[in-house]
């Protein structure tokens, strides 16, 4: 059967290469955020099955998970040099493009006879695949099938209908919003970290497929193969082969130029790139994932012993004095656009309505742990302070002067008012039945269980209801969004 390669198939093949290469390089950047992979959700050091870092951590000096990051070269990662925020933006933009390309491909496949290329319709495909494998082993090219031989058909079918959905599903399983709403979902893969590992193995499978695919295209005849996928010519003339080679080379040069441009612009003008990519990514994640509310309920036996802390505790003398006094005399201030400003001691906060929850903490770097949290639902605090109609966001200020990164101001974060009213959004004062340890955010920390960890501000000093956040800090909605080019919202 002569199905040929219609324009839709040829274009989606080209765009697939563009988006896959962006996905792979940005995925490597994301991996550098926590260059270890696990099959357990506790992520205890030493329990990783593979790691991509040149270092291990000190025994005689204190460190946090941020210190475990590994900077990758821009030759490999997009953009490289420890740019997790922009790496994630690139990854999600590429995901959107890749999924659209895939949908168009499936549309072309299903509305024409093209589906016969990759969907086996007879059990003879296995015998045919064996015959093809034997031919390849003999350094020969098997006879064409219908039009693919059995081995090609099974491989492409597995790629499109098994590996690709698995990659999408394991990627989604790492979304705190989706996993928080549907706790069973990451368990389908053995947990969040198993999903992360499978996502990585899937990436390797795509790379392996690409190497295999290119090798066999060469084995079948590179010039004919290029003419078929570039021009749609099944029996090309020498001139058509030359044109196909020229177009393929131009395409490859353009692809390399795109990667060079994306890498350089991300490294040299990160804010401009953050703003540009954010305009594409944020509306999509705000529409699809941000509204999902967490309904997590882990068992006490799921709690992680001795989890990783992240971020160095504040080092300013005022905070140290408060720690030494057990925060006696300190008051948590609630102000801004409210009718009733509040000033509450820890004891007064503890007397308000409290909520207990066992949830999984999911760091943007990739690691996770499970802990029990107790605190005041943020919705309850909002009822007490009565926000005005102009209030749209909540600004959390902290004791954290970020002494390890001086010159960038105190740590702060802004969240949407809607998110504050979610059922598992807490101002937590206890962790695992004990007052919040300093390393984990004493005196108070935020729990936003459908968000990544960096939105759950630690060492909270005050909260302020505001109408706009663009005049705070660099105007991106948080210290990490300002400095590290993270997104203001983090449901994935």
């Amino acid at each position: 059967m002569d199905l040929g390669f219609p324009l839709g198939i040829r274009l989606t093949h080209a765009f697939n290469l563009v988006f896959l290469t962006l996905l792979i390089r940005s995925g490597i950047e994301i991996l550098g955020g926590h260059p270890m992979l696990y099959f357990n959700d506790h992520c205890r050091p030493g329990s990783e099955w593979i790691r991509f870092t040149s270092k291990r951590m000190f025994r005689n000096l204190r460190w946090t998970a941020e210190d475990e990051k590994q900077s990758y070269t821009p030759w490999l990662a997009l953009p490289g040099r420890d740019n997790l925020g922009l790496g994630r933006f690139w990854h999600f933009v590429a995901v959107i493009g890749w999924l659209l390309t895939g949908l168009i491909y499936l549309f072309v496949l299903s509305t024409s006879e093209q589906w016969q290329r990759i969907v086996p319709t007879s059990w003879t495909v296995f015998n045919n695949a064996w015959q093809a494998a034997v031919a390849y082993l003999r350094l020969d090219v098997p006879l064409p099938g219908n039009p693919y031989n059995g081995l090609q058909q099974l491989t492409y079918f597995a790629l499109v209908f098994v590996l690709t959905p698995l990659q999408i599903a394991t990627g989604l399983a790492m979304s705190p919003a989706l996993a928080g709403r549907f706790q069973w979902f990451p368990r389908l893969f053995g947990g969040r970290q198993a999903a992360r590992s499978l996502h990585f193995i899937g990436l390797i499978a795509f790379v392996a497929f690409t190497v295999h695919h290119v090798a066999l295209v060469i084995a079948h005849g590179l010039l004919d193969g290029l003419a078929a996928i570039v021009l749609g010519e099944q029996a090309p003339t020498a001139a058509e082969q030359a044109v196909a080679v020229a177009i393929a080379l131009i395409f490859l040069i353009a692809l390399i130029a795109l990667h060079v441009w994306a890498t350089r612009r991300s490294l040299l003008q990160p804010r401009a790139m953050q703003n540009a990519l954010q305009r594409i990514v944020d509306p999509v994640q705000a529409l699809l994932l941000q509204p999902l509310t967490s309904q997590q309920s882990y068992r006490p036996e799921d709690i992680t012993q001795d989890p990783r802390p992240n971020g160095r505790p504040p080092g300013n003398q005022a905070f140290i004095d408060l720690v030494e006094r057990g925060f006696a005399g300190w008051k948590f201030e609630v102000g801004g656009l409210v009718d009733r400003p509040l000033s509450l001691s820890l004891e007064e906060l503890r007397r308000l309505q409290s909520q207990h929850q066992i949830t999984q903490h999911k760091c943007i770097q990739g690691w996770s742990y499970t802990a029990a949290w107790q605190g005041v639902p943020l919705g309850v605090l909002l009822e007490h302070c009565e926000p005005t109609r102009d209030a749209r966001y909540i600004l959390f200020r902290t004791f954290d002067e970020k002494w390890e990164e001086p010159g960038h101001g105190e740590y702060y974060s802004v969240i949407d008012l809607d998110l504050a009213r979610a059922s598992q959004t807490l101002i937590a004062y206890d962790m695992n039945g004990q007052p919040l340890p300093t390393a984990f955010g004493a005196p108070l920390r935020l729990r936003l269980e459908n968000q990544l960890g960096y939105k759950m501000v630690k060492w909270i000093r005050s909260m302020e209801l505001i109408a706009d956040y663009h005049d705070i800090g660099a105007g991106c909605g948080g210290w990490r969004a300002d400095l590290l080019h993270y997104s203001r919202i983090a449901p994935i």
Binding site: P45, G46, W49, K55, M57, R138, V211, T438, A439
Partner: protein, 206 residues
């Protein structure tokens, strides 16, 4: 005061940001040197395995040499008239050159991805996967390009034993065994944990 609270008191107790103890170093000369050794060792083992397999299957110990030579001179090297001495000499040179090249490539790939200090079973897996990739790329992609006349010239048993089995069970594992044994570029063993009585974890919280 808890231990974690005492962390705030002394900034000097913190490691510099983003710094850890190096468990691997990247030294180009070291990678090239050990890649050469690993490649020569694995190449020798592969050559020996192929000669044994070829002798057992076809009674022809020189066939692997002929195929190596065919990369350069084409299918004429497979003709009975082609001198054995020339085949052995040139075949050895080509095989040695490719062994060194692929050995350096293997070590470079491990160093680039920080896998020189990886667990032993992972390095063994890398060895096998790398060997099969070398076989596939060489025999399915490169050979048809440079010597198209060789297509379909090998029977299945020979290709199976001289190709897949020799590469995956001899060449790859020997490459990996060299790395596991020598551990080039490896400065420390990261995977030791409490269970081994060496490493307390997580650090910074004791």
């Amino acid at each position: 005061m808890t231990n974690s609270e005492s962390q705030t008191k002394n900034r000097e107790s913190w490691a510099p940001p983003r710094v850890g103890l190096q468990v691997e170093r990247r030294d180009r000369w070291e990678v090239v040197r050990h890649g050469t050794f690993a490649g020569l060792l694995a190449g020798f083992a592969l050559g020996a395995a192929e000669i044994v397999a070829s002798t057992a299957l076809r009674g022809d110990p020189w066939l692997p040499f002929d195929f190596a030579v065919a990369i350069v001179v084409g299918p004429d090297a497979l003709a009975p008239a082609f001198p054995v001495a020339a085949s052995v000499a040139l075949g050895t040179v080509i095989h040695t050159f490719l062994s060194v090249l692929f050995g350096v490539m293997f070590l470079s790939a491990l160093a680039l991805t920080f896998q020189l200090s990886a667990r032993s079973w992972l390095i063994a897996l890398y060895g096998v996967v790398f060997a099969l990739t070398v076989w596939e790329v060489n025999f399915l992609a490169v050979l048809p390009l440079i010597a198209p006349g060789l297509k379909g010239r090998i029977d299945l048993a020979t290709q199976l034993w001289n190709g897949i089995v020799s590469y995956s069970l001899v060449y790859g594992p020997v490459l990996a065994a060299y790395v596991v044994w020598i551990r080039p570029g490896t400065l420390d063993r990261w995977w030791l944990t409490d269970r081994d009585g060496v490493e307390a974890a997580p650090l910074g919280r004791d």
